[in-house]
C-alpha cells in the first residue's frame, strides 16, 4: 500500500510494560487524566494555590476529575494518580504547592521514608541491577 519505508521504534511495545515500577505516560493517559492535569496546572497561579489551601474540597469541585483521581489528590497518593493516568510533571505542582521539595514528593512513591530515600540518592541512587525487567529479573 505504501511506497515509503517505515523506520519503526526498534523495540517491541510490550517491552515497555516489562520495566519494574514504571508506568508509561501515553496519549491515552493524557486524555484520561485531562481534568486532573487541568487542576494541577491551575496551581501555577498564586491565587489558585491560596484557594486550594483555604478549602481543598471546594477548589477540587471546580474540576471534573474522576472520584478516584480526586481521592488520590486528597491523599497525595502519587503512585495511585500515575495509575489513573497522571504524569509527574503535572503532579509535582501539587507537592510544590504543599511546599515539598521534588525529592520529598518523588520519594513517597518509592515506599521509603524521606531520610532513607535521600540517603539512597547520596549513596549513588537506586541501582539498575535487578530493576531492568519484571520477567527476566535482571
Amino acid at each position: 500500500m505504501s511506497d515509503s519505508p517505515r523506520p519503526g521504534p526498534g523495540y517491541d511495545a510490550a517491552d515497555l510494560a516489562d520495566i519494574p515500577g514504571t508506568t508509561i505516560f501515553t496519549t491515552a493517559s493524557s486524555r484520561r487524566a485531562y481534568q486532573l492535569h487541568r487542576f494541577c496546572m491551575s496551581l501555577m497561579k498564586a491565587e489558585n494555590r491560596a484557594a486550594f489551601k483555604a478549602d481543598e474540597g471546594a477548589y477540587l469541585d471546580r474540576f471534573a476529575m474522576t472520584p478516584e483521581q480526586r481521592q488520590g489528590v486528597v491523599d497525595r497518593d502519587f503512585n495511585r494518580l500515575i495509575g489513573l493516568g497522571g504524569n509527574i510533571y503535572f503532579l509535582v505542582k501539587i507537592s510544590n504547592t504543599d511546599g515539598w521539595s521534588v525529592q520529598r514528593a518523588v520519594g513517597t512513591m518509592a515506599g521509603m521514608s524521606g531520610d532513607d530515600y535521600a540517603a539512597m540518592m547520596v549513596a549513588g541512587g537506586r541501582s539498575p541491577v535487578g530493576n531492568r525487567s519484571i520477567k527476566g529479573a535482571h
Binding site: 493524557s30 487541568r38 500515575i82 510533571y89 505542582k93 549513588g124 537506586r126 530493576n131
Partner: protein
C-alpha cells in the same frame, strides 16, 4: 554568517535552581554540583556567544495539557520565567531572537521537520536552570535565546536518531542565516533519573559514563539507543538525553571535548555536563 561554535550538554534539575535562589549553593550538598560548572562559566565569559539555541523540554508548564507538540520552536521576542507552583524564579526575562528563530523554523520545515511554532510561551526550569549554571546570577542574561522544545514525556517521543537529524538540520539553518552570529547549541536534561513509581531514584552511572564517552567521537552508537533502552537503563526521565543528540547533531564531525563533569546526586538526578567545541 551565523556559525555554531560550540555545544553544551547539561542536566536541568529544578532543585539546582531552588538551591541558587535560596542561597544554598555553598552548602556541602550543593557545592560539588556548582564546582562542576566553574570552568564552564569562565569559558562562556570568553566565548561570548550572541545566541544560544537552547534545547529543552517543557515540564507541563506551557505545554502538555491541550497541546502536545513533538518538536516546537519559540519565535517570540522574550520569554518570562514561569511559576511552577512555588513562585517564578527570580531570574531575568529571557530575550529571544525572533528573526533568527523564524529563519530556523522555516528552514526546518522545508527540511521536512514538522515544527510547531510558538509565538508566546513561559519557560520553566528546563531553560532557566541551564542559563543559571552557565552564566551565574546576573542582572541580564548575556545572550539571546532560541528555544527548541521536545516532547520527551508523552509516548512516543521522537527517536534519538530523528533528534540527531534535527540537529543536523538546525546546523544547516544556522549556516544559511546571513547575520554574523556566534551561536551555541545546548542540549539539556538527563542524565539518568526516574521521578515516578517504586523504581524512583534510579541512577545508572555506567550508562551515563558511556554516553559521555561516546558523545564526541561515536555518536552513531548513541543514535541507535531506543526509547525502551533509555527507560530501562536511564530511568523514565533519563530519556531526556535524546535532547543532547540534537546538540550533537548540530556540531558535525569531530568536535573537541573541552570540559566534562559528572556527579550524583542533585535531588533525584545524576548531573552530567559536557562542553564541546565545533571543529
Amino acid at each position: 554568517m551565523a556559525r555554531i561554535t560550540a555545544g553544551v550538554g547539561t542536566s536541568h534539575v529544578p532543585a539546582i535552581g531552588a538551591a541558587i535562589d535560596l542561597g544554598k549553593s555553598a552548602e556541602p550538598y550543593w557545592a560539588p554540583v556548582f564546582a562542576g560548572y566553574d570552568w564552564s562559566r569562565a569559558w562562556e565569559h570568553e566565548a561570548k556567544p550572541d545566541v544560544v539555541i537552547l534545547v529543552f523540554n517543557d515540564h507541563a508548564t506551557s505545554l502538555m495539557l491541550e497541546v502536545v507538540p513533538t518538536f516546537d520552536i519559540g519565535c517570540a521576542d522574550s520569554y518570562t520565567p514561569a511559576d511552577e507552583g512555588w513562585g517564578a524564579r527570580p531570574v531575568p526575562v529571557v530575550e529571544g531572537h525572533a528573526e533568527f528563530a523564524a529563519h530556523i523554523a522555516e528552514s526546518l520545515i522545508i527540511d521536512e521537520f514538522d515544527m510547531t511554532i510558538l509565538n508566546e510561551m513561559e519557560v520553566d526550569h528546563g531553560m532557566t536552570v541551564p542559563l543559571s549554571l552557565l552564566f551565574g546570577s546576573v542582572e541580564r542574561w548575556p545572550v539571546r535565546v532560541v528555544p527548541v522544545m521536545v516532547n520527551v514525556t508523552q509516548f512516543p517521543p521522537p527517536s534519538g536518531d530523528r533528534c540527531y537529524r534535527l540537529g543536523e538540520a538546525i546546523a544547516r539553518a544556522v549556516a544559511s542565516f546571513p547575520e554574523d552570529l556566534n551561536v551555541q547549541i545546548w542540549g539539556t536534561g538527563g542524565m539518568s533519573h526516574q521521578l515516578q513509581g517504586p523504581r524512583a531514584g534510579l541512577i545508572n552511572r555506567e550508562f551515563d559514563t558511556a554516553f559521555l564517552d561516546r558523545l564526541a567521537d561515536d555518536p552513531a552508537a548513541l543514535r541507535k539507543i531506543t526509547h525502551y533502552e533509555y527507560l530501562r537503563e536511564a530511568g523514565s526521565e533519563g530519556i531526556e538525553l535524546i535532547m543532547w543528540l540534537i546538540m550533537r547533531g548540530a556540531l558535525g564531525h569531530d568536535p573537541v571535548v573541552r570540559h566534562r563533569f559528572y556527579h550524583v546526586p542533585a535531588s533525584n538526578t545524576a548531573v552530567g555536563h559536557i562542553v564541546l567545541e565545533a571543529a
